[in-house]
């Protein structure tokens, strides 16, 4: 899915949070996130990278930015301080006034052969739902997805995982250990808690949820919320 779909699909009266804010909101409720930092300049980026450990990813981060990949605002596999500095300088220079306040998000370069997708979606009939699916480029084609109504219990989360058809992908796979089902259930429970605690939340997209050494980690996240005026109504 391209990031274009995100912006065109926005419901009226809603807006998306920045990647960092989205992640912070979900992390607060227990969705596991990579250790990452948002910094203001190239020096800050290099310091953050030293702490996180190489290689790292650098992305331009701001409220108005929803087209990172298309605009070339993501730099992968940065192996040393010089590369991080250069990338951060480039990214900040690429910011436009429309992007608002921007920073550079520095995150570990996570690798895993398996991608899942998880999130929250508001159903017109049944209200907020938790969604888990097989991610990656075949997400739509496979449409291997399980859904429950918020709030969920751990047993519901476990059944959501069991219900996916592509179970082979959740076992030991290409030299990587089996997906830690308890940790994956934690992601779903965290999403459910985030929805309960955040009435203005309209949708959340954890995509991809990469499986690194068996542990699911939210590499990207996008939360959509109602505008304040709408909430007050």
């Amino acid at each position: 899915m391209s990031t274009d779909d995100r912006s065109t699909g926005l419901a009226p009266g809603t807006h998306t949070l920045s990647e960092a804010e989205s992640k912070a909101l979900l992390a607060q409720h227990g969705v596991p996130m990579p250790a990452e930092q948002v910094v203001a300049d190239a020096d800050g980026a290099a310091e953050a990278a030293e702490v996180i450990g190489y290689p790292v990813v650098a992305k331009l981060c701001g409220d108005g930015i929803a087209h990172k990949t298309e605009r070339g605002l993501v730099r992968l596999g940065l192996g040393d301080a010089a590369a991080v500095r250069a990338a951060a300088t480039d990214l900040l220079a690429a910011a436009t006034p429309d992007d608002g306040d921007v920073g550079v998000l520095v995150a570990p370069m996570l690798r895993g052969n398996r991608e899942l997708i998880a999130g929250l979606a508001d159903d017109p009939q049944f209200g907020m739902t938790v969604v888990l699916g097989i991610g990656g480029i075949f997400t739509e084609a496979l449409a291997d997805v399980s859904i429950r109504l918020v709030p969920i219990e751990r047993v519901d989360a476990e059944e959501m995982i069991d219900e996916l058809r592509t179970q082979a992908l959740l076992g030991a796979f290409r030299g990587e250990p089996a997906v830690d089902r308890e940790r994956l259930a934690d992601v779903l429970l965290g999403l459910s808690r985030a929805a309960i605690a955040t009435p203005e939340l309209v949708s959340a997209d954890v995509n991809p949820l990469i499986v690194v050494d068996g542990v699911p980690i939210a590499v990207d996240a996008l939360v959509e919320v109602r505008d304040l005026a709408e909430v007050a109504r």
Binding site: M1, D5, R6, G9, L10, A11, T14, T16, I117, A118, G119, L120, A121, D122, D123, P124, Q125, F126, G127, T129, V131, G133, T139, E140, A143, V145, S146, I147, R148, L149, I152, V155, D156, E158, E159, M160, E163, V202, S203, A204, D205, V206, N207, L222, E224
Partner: protein
């Protein structure tokens, strides 16, 4: 405005177990609903008092009628079956309430389904009924059936055999369809009601009554539109904790894609959300009307499996192979036969038996082989469920002999009767073992639909069980029973 739960329960009792019924608007014309409703009540053995109103006070079907409900004695009926035109119904309700009637089934049309004016009349009627402390079911409904009271208050056939399945449907026709399956299979119905326009009570209200109804073990529901999804989820969850709820939903794929800001949102289509809601609530969702009936009949007549290890016992090799394939496609497990079970079966069977699961008897049966083997297998603690195949083959041959030119000579009469007795005995034993051991023992043969008079099919039906028309259907029913059993186990229910 909404009736208290105690009042509602009392009203539902009046609906399903009335001591007397009034048909309002009984007609002398055999083509009218007001005639058919009275006919069906009288023709199916309802034991309570039956009254009818007719504008001209003409006798209908040999029953004296009165011009209006006000002409009836007080306190003699609990239910009024309303076939009168919509415009007169407020007066009908008032008069009924004055006679102590607590529930009205409205077959009358011309309400919410007929546009804005009808909807207004419907809302007014509900408000009136609330004031009167009366229950309205419908309007625009097909009727209500309740076998504990031998009540067939409906404007269509059939009247089903009695059983443990409670039906509630947003479509009257599907009530008939479910009851037709009940007639064909012999697995019967406790209560059945079509919600019509569901002006006052809807499908989940009936399910709520069934959950506490001693006559009902399984709820079977058909729904199309759902107004309040969260309420539906809450209500159906409460019922599903107490009894199996089999549900089929119409319009499963009609909901269009809506704008979705997120990728996950685009994956969460209407039907997938509904499906997830069912799984969360523990509702057994069926994809078709016949599957829904078969599942309800399975839950109503077989104990819940305690595990997923299945033994297949067959006299027909091919069916065994196909059944093993079917099991492989589910969460069920074809039990690897434990040594002690193999040894026990070796003692009963010729050496050429499969010595494996499916347990293929390989044509080595003597008079008592099948019941003996079946009992050894079913009693084994590792076996959670049994599928029994290849019954009825001998009695089907007997049927051909009976219909042929040589019958009853050449010993044919004796052998045909023997095969009939044996096949009926085999399936009777299967049912007895299931009941005694609390394990599912499913009998499957295509004879259930091709020659339903077959002795094996009769034996299954006589024991009150469903004879599955193929092993694939038995396996898929068993798989859904296991899925539901596990749902309960995981929640400590």
């Amino acid at each position: 405005m909404t009736a208290s739960s105690e009042l509602r329960t009392e009203q539902f009792r009046a609906l399903f177990d009335p001591s007397g019924v009034v048909v309002a608007g009984a007609s002398t014309h055999p083509g009218k609903f007001g005639f058919v409703a009275l006919h069906n009540i009288l023709a199916n053995g309802y034991a309570g008092r039956v009254f009818a109103t007719n504008r001209d006070a003409s006798p209908v079907l040999g029953i004296d009628t009165v011009p209006g409900l006000e002409d009836l004695p007080d306190g003699q009926a609990d239910l009024v079956f309303v076939c009168t035109p919509a415009a007169t119904n407020p007066d009908v309700l008032r008069a009924a309430a004055a006679k102590g009637i607590k529930a009205a089934f409205l077959a009358s049309a011309g309400y919410g389904e007929a546009g804005e004016e009808g909807l207004r009349a419907q809302l007014e009627l509900v408000a009136l009924a609330d004031d009167l402390g009366m229950l309205i079911v419908g309007p625009n409904g097909q009727g209500v059936v309740s076998t504990p009271s031998s009540l067939c208050a409906q404007i269509v056939a059939p009247y089903p055999p009695s059983g443990r399945i409670g039906v509630a449907s947003q479509s009257g026709n599907f009530v008939s369809s479910f009851m037709n399956y009940a007639c064909a299979s012999g697995v019967g119905i406790s209560r059945a009601v079509s919600a019509g326009n569901a002006a006052m009570v809807g499908v989940t209200d009936f399910l709520g009554f069934y959950a506490d109804d001693p006559a009902t073990d399984v709820a079977l529901a058909y729904v199309e539109g759902i107004n309040d999804g969260r309420r539906f989820f809450r209500e159906v969850s409460e019922v599903a904790e107490r009894m199996p709820v089999v549900l089929v939903k119409g319009g499963a794929t009609s909901g269009g894609q809506r704008a979705a800001a997120s990728h996950t949102g685009s994956l969460a289509t209407d039907d997938r959300v509904f499906d997830g809601m069912c799984r969360q609530a523990g509702v057994i969702r069926a994809r078709s009307i016949e599957e829904a009936y078969e599942l309800a009949a399975s839950f109503a007549t077989q104990p819940a499996p305690k595990g997923n290890k299945v033994a297949v016992v067959t006299t027909a090799g091919g069916w065994g192979v196909v059944t093993a394939d079917a099991i492989a496609g589910t969460d069920l497990d074809l039990l690897a036969l434990p040594d002690d079970l193999v040894t026990a079966l070796d003692a009963e069977l010729p050496p050429r038996w499969s010595r494996n699961n499916p347990i293929d008897l390989a044509g080595g049966e003597t008079k008592d082989t099948i019941p003996t083997v079946l009992e050894i297998v079913a009693r084994h603690p590792d076996v959670d469920a049994v599928v029994l195949l290849g019954m009825g083959i001998q009695s089907n041959q007997g049927r051909m002999e009976e219909e042929g030119p040589f019958f009853p000579d050449f010993g044919l009469e004796r052998i045909a009767a023997y095969h009939d007795r044996q096949d009926e005995r085999y399936t009777t034993v299967a049912s007895q073992l299931s009941d005694e051991l609390g394990k599912p023992v499913l009998v499957a043969t295509e004879l259930a639909v091709t020659f339903p008079g077959n002795a094996a099919v009769r034996g299954t039906a006589a024991a009150g069980k469903l004879c599955y028309p193929s092993s694939n259907r038995a396996v898929s029913a068993l798989a859904r029973m296991w899925e539901h059993a596990r749902w309960r186990q995981r929640r400590g229910l």
